[in-house]
């Protein structure tokens, strides 16, 4: 009995490891909200509409944007979309590599402050249809490719970190 306990203790000690807990990339709670990745450190605050209107000026720069979360990657939790401050405008995509940060679907409807590097992605019509078809499939919605007649220019933030909280 004693030997068994010793063994178990040894295995648990090995399994528990001794590393400190880095910020949880599936989010860890803070007084201000749930922090993802490196959190929000960038001081260059830009509105989503400003970014969309002047994409060439901001491409490659690290910025901070804020907005309502309107969509989340359903399968891998590797991106979310933020509504623009301008009514009915195209939302901004915040993207990370799979597993670097994992965003839960319950984030939809919350408010995000996001820190990342701006990228301009020009899709042709076929790429636009594939992209929208993929999005529709992931979210379980019907999709009609013939309804898409214009190619998209996507503004994307390559994610460094984010802070997500309830909307005010």
């Amino acid at each position: 009995m004693t030997k068994a306990r010793l063994w178990l203790g040894l295995m648990l000690a090995v399994a528990a490891g001794c590393g400190d807990s880095s910020p949880g990339d599936s989010g860890h709670a803070s007084p201000a909200g749930t922090v993802y990745g490196e959190g929000v450190e960038c001081t260059l605050a830009v509105k989503v509409s400003e970014l969309s209107d002047n994409i060439d000026s901001y491409a490659g720069k690290r910025v901070r944007v804020e907005g309502l979360v309107t969509g989340v990657c359903a399968k891998r939790g590797c991106w979310f979309e933020m509504a623009s401050d301008r009514e009915f405008a195209t939302p901004l995509l915040f993207k990370v590599q799979d597993g670097v940060m994992v965003f839960p679907m319950s984030m939809k409807g919350k408010y995000a402050v996001a820190d990342g590097v701006v990228r301009k992605i020009e899709l042709d019509l076929e790429q636009t249809r594939r992209y929208l078809a993929h999005r529709a499939e992931e979210s379980g919605e019907a999709f009609d490719p013939t309804a898409v007649t214009k190619p998209l220019i996507r503004v994307r933030l390559d994610g460094v970190g984010a802070l997500v909280r309830d909307p005010e």
Binding site: L68, G109, G140
Partner: protein
């Protein structure tokens, strides 16, 4: 205690200890392996709804109308959004949403639920927790290696590594190697 007896003791106790982790990881492994065909963490159901046309002029009014007409629980509403002039989206728990065309009242209610056991298994297996769990997962991998290596030398004779064991070990090594050779030869 002889070396072989020590190996058996190690193998036995590693095996006992790892049962729980192996179950979580293998269940998640199969689920995530088929991620192109399904969502291993969430289940989604979409129901078409036909409400009366919405008459509200403010976002608050539209949200209230959708909630009332679609029979939603006001307490479960997690927010709302107008993606375009024609549509209102009311967010529901776990990423669900009611999406309604204002002029016609036609739309869908999407309910999202986490898959019990699978969701939690995926959180562990895919290391969404990060932090200390990273080291637990590393230790798990090391102990699995220990389990494999001690398994090689548990028995001797006809059923040991020098006997029939070598054929099984060889087959287990050839399987992944064969696939790699095939993969690179046909690229």
């Amino acid at each position: 205690m002889g070396v072989r007896q020590l190996i058996r003791v190690l193998h036995r106790d590693f095996g006992y200890f790892l049962v729980g982790l192996v179950i979580f990881y293998s269940v998640s492994g199969v689920a995530v392996n088929h991620i192109d065909d399904w969502n291993p963490s969430y289940s989604t159901s979409v129901t078409a709804v036909v409400l009366a046309p919405l008459e509200g002029t403010t976002l608050d009014d539209l949200e209230r109308e959708v909630v009332a007409k679609a029979g939603l629980d006001p307490d479960e509403v997690a927010g709302r959004h107008r993606p375009d002039p024609r549509t209102i989206v009311v967010f529901l728990p776990h990423g669900g949403e009611a999406r309604v065309e204002i002029a016609t009242g036609q739309g869908t209610v999407k309910r999202v639920r986490t898959r019990p056991i699978l969701f939690e298994s995926n959180v562990l297996h895919l290391n969404h927790l990060k932090g200390v769990w990273t080291y637990v997962a590393d230790a798990f991998a090391a102990l699995l290696l220990g389990l494999a290596l001690t398994g090689l030398f548990m028995l001797k004779g006809r059923t040991g590594l020098a006997g029939r064991g070598k054929w099984f070990v060889g087959a287990g090594i050839l399987l992944p190697l064969g696939f790699l050779v095939y993969y690179y030869a046909t690229r």
